[in-house]
Amino acid sequence: MNSATYEHPLAKHIRPSAKSTANCPGCGNGILAQAILQAIEDLGLSLDDFLFVSGIGCAAWIPSPSFYADVLHTTHGRPIAFATGLKVALPHKRVMVISGDGDLTAIGGNHLIHAARRNIAMTVVCVNNGIYGMTGGQVAPTTPLGLRTVTTPFGNPENPFDICELVKGAGASFIARWTTYQPRQIVKTMKKAIQKNGFAFVEVWSQCPVEFGRKTGMGNSVQMMEHYKQNSVTIARAQTMKPEELKGKIVVGEFLDIEKPELIETLAAVRAKAMAA
């Protein structure tokens, strides 16, 4: 193949003026970006069917400015709240929020749980790298207990979130978790999440070799993906394991896929009721 004429099959989804990426070499964002675009492609959808919303942090750079679609790059912690207004205004568009664990569960945690409770139809992709990457490797609500970061130089004294359990308790209707070591599974799950008429939450553990691996001692990109490979445990297998065996494991798979009243539909019902009164 002539490399000069070769074009990546998903390149048409990349904004022509986006010539470079803000992501570091070895970052997991590229794997996830490809998985998202592949899922859209597999479903036969156009990027014009989507509205992408991102917050602040490295994960926000997955759609912004690269995805050749309407993209709203918002403030730290608020993408789900911005997306809520967008979805109400354009209910026939598919809304996807792509952001990081710090953005979605720390500064934006309130919006995450309330959007899950409302069960508003949107896909929220949480890129969980376990750290604040963009600002230089500070501890996050997802950093494992005891891990050394630049703001926990003596080890993290706090317990991390299980984000999937959090959004389950809050009321989401579709919940899944994978790591960047399972890109095919991400694509399969993403297709379901996109088609879900409800709040669909996909957590993806993603390696950050520069700010996580280097500073916590977890190693380089390959070592971190090797760690995902060694420690990922399917939901079915996890059910056969004792709590002590599950320590340090990453339970992956689709945790929940249920039907429940969805906000855009219940709002339409409210309008019909109000107009009839």
């Binding site: 014009d48 568009k93 309130n110 309008r271």
Partner: protein, 384 residues
């Protein structure tokens, strides 16, 4: 409840209700808010009325979510607003700056109450007027209107939406606890007699990078989402096509100046003042609910033979500096009345620039209206 968006007719109406009706008449179809005294009736009315006209009201988890959803809805093509009081504005300020930076039309109603901090929810204070101007970080311009009656709450809310659409910017309506809870006559015109402005939109299907959609001092057409523009909207420093640039100080200079000039260059279209100060020696300069104390004092003072006048700052931001300078050239003394310890006063003093002396009078008790006798005593004290 009527299914009409515009409740044409004469009404005896609470200020907060008139505010909500002004929004509906202006074409508002999305509102989000969080309960707070003394603003809640606006949200309650919108919750009752918006679904009837095909719109949506959302009570969200906090004020941060409320302003964010409003901005999202505006990019989705709807006229959108939020309503709160001082503590809620404090929470919204970061994203009010986002709306400025991304040129998002939206309306923010602040029914001002007693502060600082949680203060007194049900007592009026004109404490947030400088906050409205400069509360969010960075250098920017904003539009803020200061109604003085229930009728003006209706009229100014319509006008706020028109200015927001015309200039693609957030616009404040600075109501307060007095006005919001006051009941007065309101005349709502026929829909065709209400002037309505709509944002200039990008031609459908046109790529956002083929035409400037941002940072035009004469206001660029808005690449509203869902119309095939493939718009990239970021509040970070960007160029006229929305392309982010965070490495070049010259790009920042362009970003700040264009946003600034968009308001500054069109000040004459925005600024609204009113006056009854012909031949007056002392002019009472005021705004909002306190203008009524000024007007009552002028009436009483003239009865006593005093050459008194009043001047209303209908627009607080951009500040009517030219109009104040002209007034200071005619009058012998300006006396600023505000329900605070002096906020707009400093701007009046700066604009008067020594053409006439400017003094300040707060009410005897902050949170109450000025007593006529106190204002008259102050007038006698400053009279040349």
């Amino acid at each position: 409840m009527s299914n009409r968006a515009v409740l044409t007719g004469r009404h005896f109406m609470q200020g907060n209700i008139a505010t909500a009706e002004g929004a509906l008449a202006a074409g508002c179809r999305f509102a989000a808010g969080y309960p707070i005294t003394p603003a809640s009736e606006v949200a309650e009315r919108l919750a009752e009325r918006l679904p009837v006209v095909g719109g949506t009201f959302l009570q969200l988890e906090d004020e941060l979510a409320s302003i964010s959803a409003v901005i999202g809805a505006s990019w989705g093509g709807l006229k959108a607003m939020t309503v709160t009081s001082g503590p809620g504005i404090s929470l919204m300020l970061e994203n009010i700056g986002f709306a400025v930076g991304t040129e998002t039309p939206c309306v923010i109603v602040n029914v001002m109450r007693g502060g600082p901090t949680t203060g007194i929810p049900s007592v009026e204070l004109q404490g947030d007027v400088i906050q409205a101007r400069r509360g969010s970080h960075g250098d920017y311009q904003i539009i803020a209107l200061a109604p003085s009656s229930v009728q003006e709450l209706f009229d100014d809310t319509v006008e706020a939406f028109n200015l927001a659409e015309r200039f693609r910017t957030p616009v404040f309506v600075l109501s307060d606890a007095f006005l919001g809870h006051m009941r007065e006559e309101v005349v709502i015109p026929e829909p065709e007699r209400i002037s309505i402005a709509d944002r200039k939109r990008f031609p459908k299907g046109v790529d956002v990078e083929s035409l400037p959609g941002f940072l035009d001092e004469d206001v660029a057409p808005m690449p509203v989402f869902g119309e095939g523009h493939k718009a990239h909207v970021t509040s970070s420093c960007h160029d006229a096509y929305g392309r982010r640039n965070v490495v070049d100080a010259k790009a920042l200079d362009f970003f700040i100046r264009k946003l600034n000039d968009k308001i500054e260059k069109h000040k004459d279209e925005i600024v609204k003042v009113a006056a009854d100060a012909e031949g007056a020696e002392v002019v009472l300069v005021s705004y909002g609910s306190i203008l009524r104390s000024a007007q009552a004092t002028v009436e009483a003072g003239r009865g006593l033979g005093l050459k008194l006048g009043w001047f209303k700052l209908g627009t607080l931001w951009p500040f009517p500096d030219k109009e104040i300078a002209a007034l200071a050239g005619r009058a012998k003394h300006l006396l600023v009345l505000e329900n605070n310890l002096g906020q707009m006063f400093h701007y009046v003093q700066a604009a008067a620039a020594g053409r006439a002396p400017v003094s300040f009078l707060p009410p005897r008790v902050l949170g109450e209206m000025h007593e006529i006798e106190d204002v008259l005593a102050a007038v006698k004290g400053v009279r040349p």
